[in-house]
Symmetry: C3
């Protein structure tokens, strides 16, 4: 008689502090917010998924292939990305099952990771899986999830409602027509709020391959000739306006550094022309990009888009992998970040302007207490973004609160941001954040730094007020 | 019937570990040191406050306007510094009440911050406030504090005694006549010890506006012509001697970096002349400042003043605010620090000299385990300074002990330093430190890294021995 | 009647979490691994100690003089290294007792340090000492330890067996004949596995004094003329082969940075010739060293030696001490480390090659979450090394697991490495690691991130599988 496989267990008190007294407090705080609507002000879900509302293809395409948190760790175990359906488009059932089996076979490699926590919660709470993934259980679990995905209640719009999402921001190229957003807006059956985010990186970096083409496309999208610098600025402004018309409240920027330094119009125009002509030096390309960070701040002051910065990641570290599988395939690796000096010119110019809001994210924890909290603890325009990417995980979130709160308090932080491509992980990630912040606040109550009514108000604000304030929702 | 406002509650076990077993140990350790005299070897209280012994003006001038920990966070909430009495000199009652109301109205913004903890303890323990600050309670609390400040027992000297301060160091310009210190020394009614600290930064940085004027003033104060380099050195030495006569035991240095590099007398004299003539380049000005860091070490070896270093803060980050409100107004922002390479020439020359003592402070936590603990764990001259500025807070203090102790132990740390301008926060800050170190030591006892008698001896030494040793008191 | 001196107490539950529920879980995990064999894949014990199997000389020579963790902190207390027998060769009894007395007299200075924990466990568990070291007890404890060292059961081979060591790696110069390793291999009485590690630093850095002599010696050892670059490469390859024949599975590299950048054969040969001629500039010397890091990776791909990197320590910070006492005398001080950019060329070339294995160590904690975990979480060739040197201590090990696990899991870490010169500390260090990882895993179980059976499998793998995998044992 074969032994039953181990169960998949998701404990109701998971991530709350284990000490009984702290857990009691944390539970009371968590209970107050667990069912509050989800505000997701920054992420990478495709609006077309909701506009089209087609059933998801299969378990692997939903939970494995597009999620670089998952595929990267499988790759580190020696599984080629090609086995996981990365960059492969729609998978046939054999491919999907194979990718799924790799995940289940290597389930133990995820122990202790954030990805494991998210997957486990999704499998159990959304899909009702009750056995632990393994080589033996892979096919059964695949069948369970696949069966669910065929049900109407597992179509994207149904899940959006079931997840309790109130606002969902997507991330979009300035040239995007935002048709899916318009479709949703126009649909009387649809009550959700799905808004775009203006992400112009590829149009702002002359050093990046394809920049010339990008500004041509920008001009076409805006109906403005980007052949000179004035037209380029006008086209960017026009596309920002287009985004704002479709509900955008923020622009997002992810360059190698956050340095903002104005060149003056004349020099900027000269470098723009040189870049178009292909004669700009690398230093000039960088100078132009830093000039444009300042211009983006200037536009934000004028049109009110919140400006979010996600710097200091070396993209596509392993060129052979990018060449074969494309970007966002798990080998973007952080480098040291610096904000104090880099943002000084921008903050000197706009830092106390009431129209500016900057949300600063980092994958370099050393800046939390050294730079981000001090900046957000003085400038009314600066917010510390929620822990990002590699730091969006239980231990790292505790370190974030520990490093930021004592200088900047809670009000100067952005509230949770899921930043995900994995649609079904949205409720799980927000729930994780609520649990961890409840646990964090419970400690402040337990050692008498905060009264419990204050902690209760704080956890509620972190969920419902902070993201609205930071993102002007 | 109106509801009673929430009470202001200060728990006797605050900041001690919440787990019952650890709390018991921590309480025993804390009880052994809670009433020991306060040694404050570095801070920014004005000696004249004690020499004159006038009543404090009003609650806002005492607790809000001069405290950049408080005003910076209110500024981040959108309150202009002008509303808080910053840089305004003496406030009239309307101004003082307005500043106070801003604090109380934004009380929730301070949750989880060190400033909140200090304010709460001061309001409750020193002034007897029992209701939580809010827009509604602001005026009542103002009245309570104002009434106390009118009492004789709340005059500076009375509080000095009540706080149990044994030694208080001030921070003073080399040109200061130290008259207030002399007044106190000469007063037979006065039993306290108030000593100056030699802080020559503005005289050592040719790149700083006003340096020429500063060295002229230095010459006048010393009665020595600072028109050439030899006179400049002699004047500095003379003023150090003047400070030592008035009880100084340390000099303090806060430059952008701690690099110490001797130029040799001839080149130093050349750069000094160029700086006076206004022809020194920025690189030469920096080289001269680094040369002077080495000279300060040389003088310390000769006259025995302990040398404390507080580097790597970008001062006056927001120029419009400094222009209007002056320095120390909440927008000094840390940058990365580096000690290993920067101090190598100094330590190679003087690091094992019995007369040198260096106390190294940082706002960049990444150097704790990487550089400061290894340096203090080898050089008998080096001490790791207590957590400074943004890091002088409960979580940060735990991170400090965690990062430093395993390499450098307890004896190589400086003991607590309050570094404050806020006179009434002195006892509260020292008490906070005693509670946190008790909690830290309780953990070492609870997991059997230390016997309780050793922890008891250690907490007592941290309070009574370490600061005396590090500052030669 | 004199009081009895305090006892030396080593609690069976030391380092396990103090909370009762967590301690119960941790105890179950620890019990499963406490008696498993020790795998020590990187360290600095001399193989001759085991080959010769002579009794250890005296307590100070065994536990004080050669251990820079101990002597550095005594030096910081003002004890000259000459008093501790550093660099003094064999000590006479008077010298040995004097060194020992310094340790005991300054016992309190070690409170809270890793060195204190290791010494305490060794004294109690290996030598049966039951009184706490102090000035008063120094001679008695010396006598107890000295008496034990005279017993046959305290000879090196007997201890090796008693400690349960299965594999012990030494660290050796490429010119080493590995005679002691050969003796042990050839001895039918000897069942242990003692393998060398190829550590070629001094042969790869033209800027280091003595490099020219080093490559001459290399040529002599290999029987290959190192007068030109081709011979130099061939000699290195030959010596690697020699090490592999004697059981080596890894090479070790400790330069100031890990930058790997190929110059091409022609340019490398030119720089090699210039370096031999003494005409290479410092920049060329550095470029050559970085080229050789890439060459070492190339050789690893070819011969399968695991490549371990220990970068970013400023060696011999205090030149007067090195001049008098030699290297490794306690004043090697870390500097900032950088891996993402520095290793990009190497990983682009070899990062997915199945023959390459890189184990990355750091004394700069800021790279754990920012660089090391992301790299090891993608590249199948990269492992995160166990906490190294100043970070090999209870608090630091918790910070390591906290920073690394959520991105890279457990499988991408190297398993524990003692890296020690102090033979008797080997079992104590491995035991410490097992306790701490048990405690860490207990927390994951207690807040429901991991089932207990998973934690049990993980702790077992960390002890028995990870080091074998990372070091190809």
């Amino acid at each position: 008689m074969p032994t039953a496989p181990p169960t998949l267990h998701v404990h109701p008190d998971r991530l709350l502090p284990p000490e009984p007294h702290l857990r009691d407090i944390a539970r009371r705080l968590y209970d107050a917010v667990r069912h509050l609507p989800i505000i997701s002000p920054h992420g990478h879900v495709d609006a077309a998924v909701l506009a089209d509302d087609l059933p998801f293809d299969d378990p692997a395409s939903l939970l494995v292939s597009p999620d670089h948190y998952v595929t990267r760790l499988l790759h580190a175990q020696g599984v080629p990305l090609s086995e996981l359906g990365v960059g492969a488009g729609r998978l046939d059932e054999q491919q999907a099952r194979r990718a799924w089996r790799h995940l289940c076979t290597h389930w133990a490699a995820f122990r202790g990771t954030a990805a494991r926590y998210w997957l486990e919660c999704q499998l159990h709470e959304i899909f009702g899986v009750t056995t632990r993934p393994s080589a033996e259980t892979a096919d059964d679990i695949y069948d369970i999830v696949a069966a669910r995905l065929a049900e109407d209640t597992f179509r994207p719009r149904a899940l959006f409602g079931q997840f309790g999402i109130e606002v969902l921001a997507t991330t979009d190229d300035p040239c995007a027509d935002l048709g899916a957003h318009a479709t949703l807006e126009a649909d009387p059956q649809w009550g959700g709020r799905v808004i775009p985010t203006f992400r112009p990186d590829r149009h702002l970096e002359p050093a990046r391959p394809g920049w010339g083409q990008a500004v041509t496309e920008l001009g076409e999208a805006a109906g403005i000739d980007t052949g000179d610098y004035a037209g380029y600025l006008a086209a960017l402004e026009a596309r920002r306006a287009h985004f704002i018309e479709h509900g955008a409240t923020s622009s997002d920027h992810s360059h190698l550094d956050v340095r903002a330094e104005s060149l003056g119009t004349r020099e900027a125009a000269r470098l723009y022309a040189a870049a178009l002509a292909g004669t700009a030096t690398p230093a000039e390309a960088t100078a132009f990009r830093r000039h444009m960070t300042m211009e983006m701040a200037r536009m934000s002051v004028e049109d009110g888009l919140v400006m979010t910065l996600h710097p200091a990641v070396r993209r596509n570290h392993h060129a052979p992998t990018s060449a074969r599988f494309g970007s966002d395939t798990g080998h973007d690796i952080p480098v040291r970040a610096e904000f104090t000096r880099a943002l000084q010119p921008l903050l000197e110019r706009y830092g106390t302007h009431p129209n500016l809001q900057l949300v600063l994210f980092t994958t370099d924890e050393s800046v939390y207490s050294r730079e981000l909290a001090p900046l957000a603890g003085f400038y009314p325009s600066v917010f510390v973004g929620a822990p990002w990417w590699f730091l969006d995980a239980p231990e790292a979130i505790h370190r974030f609160r520990s490093a930021v709160t004592e200088t900047a308090g809670f009000t100067r932080t952005s509230g949770f941001i899921d930043d995900t491509r994995a649609f079904c992980s949205i409720p799980v990630r927000h729930d994780m954040s609520r649990r961890l912040d409840s646990g964090w606040l419970a400690r402040l109550v337990a050692d008498h730094r905060l009264a419990e009514d204050e902690a209760l108000e704080t956890i509620t604000e972190l969920v419902s007020v902070n993201p609205r304030r930071a993102f002007r929702l």
